[in-house]
């Protein structure tokens, strides 16, 4: 009894092969990290004006895939936002 697994379709490839564009999705220009350009080493939790631009209406932290911030700076940013929330400079949730 030998079953040839290679011939069988388990759907794995279908699941992970997402290189093909699906639906009417425009290709967007790759965003670049604003903090890297400005050479920011430290994001201060007191800098509310800056943090506000990464906290939309609802009060959630803007995801990297939208803002284009690099991983290092997103980590710093998230930390700063959470600190600012603790001291009521930023909301945890709005409405």
């Amino acid at each position: 009894m030998s079953s040839n697994y290679e011939d069988r379709d388990f759907g794995f490839e279908r699941e992970y092969d997402r290189t093909m564009p699906r639906g009417p999705r425009r290709m967007q220009r790759r965003k670049i990290c604003r903090f890297c350009i400005d050479k920011v080493d430290l994001i201060d939790f007191k800098d509310v004006k800056l943090l506000m631009s990464y906290v939309p209406e609802r009060g959630k932290i803007l995801p990297r895939r939208i803002s284009g911030v690099c991983a290092t700076h997103q980590r710093m940013l998230a930390e700063a936002i959470k600190r600012a929330r603790n001291i009521a400079l930023l909301p945890y949730a709005a409405d």
Binding site: D41, F45, K46, R83, R85, N86, I87, A88, P91, Y92
Partner: protein, 139 residues
């Protein structure tokens, strides 16, 4: 703990308390810190601002920021006192010396990278410039 640490201590004072009360509280905190062997490197009264959310049914608060240097024992003492003080709506201590050190390291690394790159750029410029001279000669 012989090691010296730097902290940022931020607290919110009840908006119903007067300005003198805010100053008095801040001075009291500073006294505790110096009494415990710490030192204050920066004091900033950030004034009254709107809270992002209500704390104890208060909509705004007086923000005070202190920068403290010390072992950490005085922070524990100050926090203990703030916890029981009704005039202090919220406090937060952040250790900043480690953050700053990390930032310096990043800056250092970038400086070194930058030092490497211009050398490359110059080499390229040197290659390019004779051509530029030629162009000028033609022009």
């Amino acid at each position: 703990m012989a090691e010296k640490r730097t902290y940022e201590l931020m607290f919110i004072v009840d908006p119903d308390a007067g300005d003198e009360d805010v100053v008095k509280l801040s001075e009291g905190v500073q006294k505790i810190i110096t009494g415990q062997g710490g030192s204050i490197t920066k004091t900033e009264m950030m004034g009254k601002r709107k809270l992002a959310y209500e704390i104890n049914h208060k909509k705004d608060g007086n923000y005070v920021l202190l920068e403290v240097e010390g072992s950490g024992a005085e922070i524990a003492e100050v926090e203990r006192r703030m916890r029981v003080n009704d005039q202090i709506l919220r406090y937060m201590t952040v250790r900043v010396d480690e953050m700053r050190r990390r930032a310096d390291k990043l800056k250092d690394r970038r400086a070194r990278k930058a030092a490497k790159k211009p050398a490359n750029g110059k080499a390229k410029a040197a290659v390019v410039s004779p051509e530029a001279d030629e162009d000028e000669a033609v022009a």
